[in-house]
Each structure stands twice: as C-alpha cells, then as structure tokens.
Amino acid sequence: MNLHSTYHDTVNLIAVDDARIDSAVALRFKDDMRSLTEQGPDHIVLDLSRVTFVDSSGLGAIVASMKQLGPGKRLDLAGLTPDVAKVFRLTRMDTVFTIHPHASAVAPRAAG
C-alpha cells in the first residue's frame, strides 16, 4: 500500500498511490492510515484521484480509518474517480463523508 501524507497548513493530505483499495490491502490500508493520522493537522483529506477500484472491503477500511481517528479529527475524501464514486453513492456512504471534487480545493498547494 502506497500512502503519502503531506501537510498543507491545516490539512493533512494523504494521497493513495495505488489503483485499488480491495480485500487484498484493506487491513494494511487501515493500519497505515492510523499511523499517518496520529500526528499532524486534525483535518485529514484522503486523495483518491489515483484509485480506480474500491470494493466493500476497501470501503469498510475507509470507514474504519475515519472511526479510529482521535477526538477532534475529521476525515474528508477528494478526487473520487467514477467507479469509486459509484460505490459511495450506492452504499449511501456519500452522505457520511464530505467529498471534495479535487484535493486542490482543500489543499491549494497540493501538486496535481
């Protein structure tokens, strides 16, 4: 699992550099998210713009990543590709998360 965390003022932007968050990597994803969100800004934005496939295991791992955050922290999502957006829409998880069209909207200096 390749996750890259960069701090942009008040935002901890975590970019996923893998095409899939599925059952093969769900546990690792959740663990990596825990270690990347323990420090740093309270506002975490997960940039999913390179992710083309999320199954229900991956969805569960993203939900778990939000639930395991310390008090006062929040997790938003950004850059959902069409199939990923569909999973969130079908399961109505798009009503649980704040979803930004692009990571640059919340972290203006983010590359890409």
């Binding site: 059952s23 093969a24 496939f53 229900s56 569960g60 939900v63 569909k86 109505r92």
Partner: protein, 173 residues
C-alpha cells in the same frame, strides 16, 4: 449400514480443459453458458485480483463500456470475496471456477466453489446496513450482497453435491 456417497460430478471439467484457449463456444453442463472465458483459481485476495483483471480485460475486448466493466468487476469482486471469506472461511484457500459468457443478450457469469453453503441454502436479502447512527457505530461491512443484488440484473444460487453455484446475469444495455 452407511449410505453410499452421492455421485459428485467433477467441480468444473470445462474450466480445466478450457484454460489454454477459452474462446470456443461449447456447452459444458446444463447450467453453463457457452464459455467465452473460463478460469480456475484459489479463493485468496491476490488470485481474486488477478482473475478480476483477466475477466475485465476479456470483457473490454468484447466492447463493454467502462461503466459496465466497473459494475461487473465490483459485483464479481464482492461475490468472490464472499467465497474466500465465508464459504472457505478465510483460511482454506479452496478452488473457485468462473465461467463467463457474453453475447447479445448480456453477460452471464457462473461461479462455483466447494466451501460451506450459504446460510439456509439461500441468497441473503442484501439489505443496506443503516447509516443512521453515530459515526463511531457506522458499519464497516455488510455491503457485499447489497452491491451484488444492486449491480447484477439477476442472481441465482444453488447448492448441489457439495458445490455452491452462483449465477450473476447482467443484461445488455
């Protein structure tokens, strides 16, 4: 006196024979579609990934749209994850066979495994878990059957001779 063991047909003779070529159209058993791709693999996450990639590539070559490919891949991923996690209990990486046929009427995929039967020998209802809950109680699972039923146009399940058979159908659109 012990009862004689029931005669169990081989799990998937066609899948084995067809691994090399795979494109010939031929009926293998009464419930099987004419095969356009046949795979046999162990029910573990890495093999499931590889199988999904192969099926997607095959269907893309048949001209399915990206939207349809995404729907089919997700439904198959959920069905295969269920086999790995529930039918085989996540430990014994038992065999799965996948037969898929795509024609003018749509796509039909038959999955077979020799793991445990679905509870009550029937398809789960696949209701969406409630999200009307404090965030610490949000569900982290239970979406699989909902997605399968939502994405596929028809789902059939049968248990016979120690084999689970799940058929997913996607109409041509």
């Amino acid at each position: 006196m012990p009862r004689p063991l029931p005669r169990v047909p081989p799990a998937d003779p066609g899948a084995r024979r067809d691994r090399a070529g795979g494109r010939r159209t031929r009926r293998i058993a009464r419930h099987d579609p004419p095969v356009s791709i046949a795979l046999r693999f162990a029910a573990c996450p890495d093999r499931i990934r590889a199988a999904l990639r192969q099926v997607r590539r095959h269907l893309a070559a048949q001209g399915l749209s990206d939207d349809r490919l995404g729907m089919v891949e997700l439904a198959l991923a959920e069905a295969l994850n269920n086999i790995a996690e529930h039918a085989y209990g996540g430990q014994d990486e038992g065999p799965v066979s996948l037969l898929a046929c795509h024609d003018g009427d749509g796509l039909r995929v038959v999955l077979r495994d020799r793991g445990r039967a679905l509870p009550g020998n029937r398809l789960p209802d696949g209701t969406l878990p409630t999200l009307d809950t404090p965030s610490h109680a949000l569900p982290e699972g239970g979406f699989g059957w909902f997605l399968i039923r939502d994405l596929a146009d028809r789902v059939d399940y049968a248990r016979a001779g120690g084999t689970n058979r799940l058929i997913l159908q996607f109409s041509a659109r």
